[in-house]
């Protein structure tokens, strides 16, 4: 973690309750160390995640957004992550067109048993956001 800058950046995580939130818990129980930048919002299912939440977070000042759900076919609600996959892929492709680096938005699938994978994902994503630096969309001018 030595290559992480002293000031943490603002990274929002949207995690489904059944798989990825559990995976993050598993990582915690196993004491898998992670950089401190990520703040997690728990949602029941990745299918609950409206891509607009991601946009809202970025516009409001987040430097990166991480979304994680159950692996495809393993959704607690059977199909939620299938919808999420399409919506999030659509957003991932739109962001660079708007001038926002799509590297700032990552979506993936992590199960409740994959604590180590969670640790690796968080570590790599935070590192990447630090490489990209702050996004600064919040500093807006009043018109």
């Amino acid at each position: 973690m030595s290559d992480i800058a002293p000031k943490e950046l603002k990274i929002v995580g949207f995690l489904c309750n059944w798989c990825s939130y559990g995976g993050a818990d598993t990582a915690g129980v196993s004491r898998f160390k992670q950089p401190p930048d990520l703040r997690i919002i728990r949602v029941p299912c990745s299918g609950r995640i409206d891509p607009l939440f991601v946009v809202k977070a970025l516009l409001n000042g987040a430097d990166g957004v991480l979304v994680s759900g159950c692996h495809p076919r393993d959704c607690h609600y059977s199909d939620g992550n299938f919808y999420a996959r399409r919506r999030l892929e659509m957003l991932k492709r739109l962001l660079p067109f708007l001038g926002i680096d799509d590297k700032r938005f990552h979506y993936t699938w992590i199960s409740a048993s994959e604590g180590q994978r969670w640790q690796q994902t968080v570590t790599a994503f935070v590192k990447r956001i630090h490489e990209l630096g702050p996004l600064n969309l919040k500093e807006e001018k009043q018109s």
């Binding site: 607009l52 495809p72 076919r73 399409r86 957003l91 067109f97 001038g99 993936t108 009043q142 018109s143």
Partner: protein, 316 residues
Amino acid sequence: MTVEKLKETVLDTLKDVELVMGYQMGFDALHATPLFIRKKEDAERLIWNPLCVHNLTTYLPSLKKSRVGVVVKGCDSRTIIQFLQEGLITRENVTIIGIPCQGIISVRKVLKEIEYEPVEEVSFNSDSMTIKTLKGSKTLKIEDVWPDKCITCKYPTPLIYDYLIGEPVSFDRGVEVSQVIKELEGKSLNERLAYWQKEFDRCIRCYACRNACPLCVCQDSCIAETREPHWISQRLTLNEKFMFHMIHALHLAGRCVECGECARVCPMDIPVNILKKKINLDMKELFGYVPGVNAEDKPPMYTFNVDEVNIKEHGI
């Protein structure tokens, strides 16, 4: 000749429906305006020329339970197909009068050419138009004043209709991606962000784009104005405007039929349609889906494949 045939068909249709929607002359010679024909004599005012830019199908979902007729161009017909995909209209209730179209004009482009002089008279030849103003008259080739959508048009003949006025035309101008998208894609991320911030900053949040959009089904329930849920405030900041346009674009993802009404009606000349066009390119690449072409299709955001062949997992 087309107009005569059109009138004939409209009168014929009017026997079975409450209302037929077409075009009439507007407040000056450069503008057409929608015409709602309920009585025989209304039909006298019908016109048909490249000024007939409006997508009249916008009114259909609110008339879902009435029997109506509507005059459509090729591009407008795609809206009807999209409505059918989404179950927003009942096919039996709508009589579609299709007109093959060689391209319409962008009033904005014409005004620029005539330097915003008041228009006295407009006349059309096969591929050009002559505009008479106080300062004299000017002849423009129609293709030079096409709106963006006519340049990339693939469906000049309506894809769905009950009557077709005139012979079907077909052409493909070979332009897949509109110029604005190409130019933007050639720019750096920072330049693109600056571009959109500059464009959206002009937005006055009049919601004309939303109201003109045939697929913005929410209308009065639009989350840009509600508190339950409270997505954006009424503050006039760039980010609130940006967010509004993101809501508009993402709600249209995989549904926008590229009729261009949003951009046409924008009083601030913001290229509102471009984001949706860009998303459509991705929808085609990802799901092989083009909105408003086949009534049997399912809009891609409301369905899924268990194995998505074209979505690869992203690494960090």
